[in-house]
């Protein structure tokens, strides 16, 4: 295909980019996909695909620090943000410049993502709760943040598409989470309304862990008190993008573009049986989650969803992929503001300094390079920013961890990362004062905060333990480890932002993102509240608390005389938000930039607020919405002759 023939140029093969690529090519639109990562990672041929994945897996086995990016190549030409690069920021050590990000602080941004084919879903955990209706109207309900320009109900059909595409296992009944407490009564969301009567997920819920059951059994009827309000501790099984037993009641077959109705349709067939999507190299591998307990950083059998599963469904006849192609700048026509091309640098091989600069052209352009990179490319191009919101409102969940030892064995380090969450504080009037949070029970012991169980061994050895005593000691300690997360929603803050600075460029001469990031009262108060709740839960469980926060930790804040630590959730959100006005947002509800008629942005950067849900499901729903808008726009142009001036092909 020659450059001028593309209908759409898409940057990035993560879930956002893959959903678009699949949907658009299946609708017969010609797509050029630019991907910064290595060619090997995209192999569609089963054998090559398997070999490349085994290479990832062995790299993971061999890695000393098994962090999210550890299995995957980190290419100098398109570096990944890496949690190993995080340092404490101090007046003497500022900005920190390890790795890809330049961090000005005062606190380091603590989440990473993966630049490579398939993107960050290769090492996401795969938890996929929907956002709650109130999350879409934070300003109206609680006077904080902003409202979304669309409501939960408007997003609902797209949620169903996202759940179909990712292949969610879950139990809708369990999503009956508390909305608020009135007097001494807890009001719950009604799933018949939020999900619709009879709605089910494609697969039955992933079995909740033995550990979950120990926790639930030890806290039957537990109530906790916070600021004089009494809350029921409510457990919900977590919907997730990993394979389980198909739910025979699920009859939604797939998503196609309905040309007549000009919309995407999720089809239903009464005699349909859902088939779990197995690995990319063998459909029989990964039909069920096998409990490898390594979903982050790598699922060995690909029972967990990753974006390459979606990309593979694209219609190859309409798709061209260029890998090792790092998008650097976007060109536009100063008269019409139409985008005229995307400049990319194609490097020869991993880490090579040899590259060619080229321009990709199409009718419509989509950035799907993840929130920080999208914002950076826009800033580097000086476009889409009449609102001055590009790069601002960077958000994540502050993950405050608490850990302790159960009085009985809960047998952690087994199963997917988390199968149950405490949903009590996902919503409520307290959100006027401090953030809401979701509390997953972590199935992997103290691994995250203390690097257990390796540290349990070294501690025991330093006490002179060996032999049978050592073995028994490890058995006793490791099997009783409990870790809770308190994933606190961050509120959009214009000062939490991505900028660029000509001082900081990578080896291809592309800008490195410069980050400013801080915590606010709203967050600190939430951590204080969450710790109080944690204390009460631990007491009920009979857990001995070993939580240890220190100012030495990279992300440490002191609040009311107490130190709190938080970790990054990997939820990079908000850097090019959607809104109802051109003045305050970067994209409109169609996910199209206000400033450029043929430029769309997709990914978590579009989300105005983060709520207490892991963001990818919601973002995927929005990506389907974007695909629909693009198809509408393309077909309108086809119907009425091109509305784009021919100019776009003439100017470079």
């Amino acid at each position: 295909m020659n450059d001028h023939e593309y209908d759409v140029v898409i940057v990035g093969s993560g879930i956002a980019g893959s959903v678009l690529t699949k949907t658009l090519t299946q609708a017969g639109k010609k797509v050029l996909l630019l991907e910064a990562g290595l060619q090997a990672g995209i192999a569609f041929d089963a054998e090559k695909n398997f070999q490349n994945y085994q290479y990832y897996l062995n790299t993971f086995y061999k890695a000393g620090a098994k962090v999210p990016n550890s299995p995957y190549p980190n290419i100098e030409d398109a570096q990944s943000i890496n949690v190993l690069d995080i340092e404490k920021i101090t007046p003497e050590n500022k900005p920190t410049t390890n790795g890809y990000l330049v961090q000005e602080g005062p606190l380091p941004f603590a989440s990473d993502c993966l630049r490579g084919p398939g993107g960050t879903t290769l090492h996401w955990l795969g938890s996929t709760p929907r956002m709650l209706p109130n999350d879409f109207r934070m300003k109206t309900e609680y006077g904080v943040g902003v409202d979304w320009p669309i409501t939960y109900d408007e997003l609902k059909p797209y949620y169903e598409m996202a759940e179909n595409e990712i292949g969610i296992s879950g139990d809708v009944e369990d999503q009956k989470v508390p909305e608020k407490v009135v007097g001494d009564k807890t009001i719950y969301y009604n799933v018949d309304r939020t999900y619709g009567k009879d709605y089910v997920f494609p697969m039955k819920k992933i079995p909740q862990s033995y550990l979950d059951k120990v926790c639930m059994n030890r806290s039957k009827g537990l109530k906790v008190e916070l600021n004089k309000v009494v809350y029921d501790i409510v457990y919900s099984s977590t919907p997730q993008g990993r394979n389980s037993i198909p739910d025979p009641r699920y009859k939604l077959t797939g998503i196609t573009w309905d040309q007549r109705a000009k919309k995407l349709v999720l089809h239903r067939k009464d005699d349909y049986e859902y088939q779990p999507v197995g690995s990319n190299w063998d459909p029989y591998t990964g039909q069920r989650c096998e409990g490898n307990a390594s979903c982050v950083p790598i699922c060995p059998v690909q029972a967990k969803y990753n974006a390459l599963k979606t990309l593979r469904k694209s219609d190859p006849e309409y798709l061209a992929i260029i890998t090792q192609a790092v998008a650097s700048r976007i060109f536009y026509d100063k008269g019409s503001n139409d985008i005229t091309g995307i400049e990319y640098k194609k490097y020869k091989y991993a880490d090579s300094t040899v590259f060619e600069t080229k321009v990709a052209k199409g009718k419509i352009y989509v950035l799907a390079a993840s929130a920080i990179e999208n914002a950076k490319i826009l800033l580097a191009s000086g476009i889409a920013n009449s609102s001055d919101q590009v790069g601002r409102n960077l958000m994540d969940h502050f993950v405050m961890l608490t850990w302790g030892l159960l009085p009985e064995k809960g047998f952690p380090y087994r199963g997917p990362g988390s199968t149950t969450n405490i949903s009590t504080f996902r919503d409520g009037t307290f959100r006027k004062e401090h953030s809401a949070w979701i509390s997953p029970i972590d199935n992997w012991g103290w691994a995250w905060p203390t690097f257990a169980p390796g540290t349990d061994l070294s501690n025991a050895l330093s006490e002179g333990m060996f032999g049978k005593k050592l073995r028994a000691h490890l058995n006793d300690v490791i099997t009783r480890q409990l870790l809770l997360h308190f994933e606190c929603e961050q509120i959009p803050d214009p000062n939490n932002r991505v900028t660029i600075d000509p001082k900081y460029k990578d080896q291809l001469g592309n800008y490195r993102p410069v980050i400013q990031y801080q915590s606010t009262e709203y967050m600190n108060k939430a951590m204080e509240a969450a710790k109080k709740v944690s204390d009460q839960i631990f007491k009920a469980y009979g857990v001995e608390d070993f939580t240890d926060y220190t100012m030495k930790n990279a992300d440490a804040v002191k609040y009311n005389g107490k130190v709190y630590n938080f970790w990054g959730a990997g939820h990079i959100v908000g850097t090019h938000r959607m809104g109802s006005s051109k003045e305050h947002s970067v994209v409109n509800p169609d996910q199209r930039t206000w400033d450029h008629d043929n430029l769309y942005l997709v990914g978590c950067g579009n989300m105005p607020t983060i709520g207490t849900s892991n963001p990818t499901l919601t973002m995927t729903a929005l990506s389907f919405k974007a695909a629909e808008s693009i198809l509408k726009q393309l077909e309108k142009n086809e119907d009425h002759g091109s509305t784009f001036s021919k100019k776009q092909f003439e100017t470079t």
Partner: protein, 141 residues
């Protein structure tokens, strides 16, 4: 007591150091790798000293586990040898030599996961839904 090769001494003392039986250790398939790693990472004099001490402990114990444990505490956990000893135990438990993972296989054969009644994350998958129950325990005789 018959004369042992250093590798045999290595295996025998590993049994007392790790708390795992000889067949458990052999069953990891890692004996050769670990023995070689141990020897390669030390000065030759240190290797000789270490095995001399080990043999002395084993030979003078009259097969009494208690005596061997005493010897281990006194000599192998003594200031001169303690770091070698902890490295040796760590190797069996995690597949690491110091901070380095010896090989992909060594990671998957780490005994710490067995001690924890779990499995190395990303390997030896226990199967769908297994985490919803207590770990399988097959009663021994």
């Amino acid at each position: 007591m018959s004369k042992k090769t250093p590798k045999e001494s290595f295996l025998t003392i590993s049994v007392y150091l790790t708390g795992y039986s000889q067949v458990d250790l052999l069953g990891t398939g890692m004996l050769d790798t670990y023995y070689n790693t141990f020897v390669e990472n030390l000065e030759i004099e240190n290797v000789t000293t270490y095995f001399k001490e080990v043999d002395q402990i084993l030979d003078n114990s009259g097969n009494s586990e208690e005596k061997i444990n005493e010897g281990i505490t006194k000599v192998l956990f003594g200031s001169a040898l303690v770091s070698l000893t902890t490295n040796l135990i760590t190797m069996w438990y995690t597949g690491n030599w110091g901070q380095d993972v010896i090989s992909p296989e060594s990671y998957t054969q780490g005994l710490i996961w067995n001690a924890a009644q779990a499995h190395p994350p990303g390997a030896k998958q226990p199967g769908y839904g297994s985490w919803a129950d207590e770990p399988i325990e097959i009663p021994t005789i």
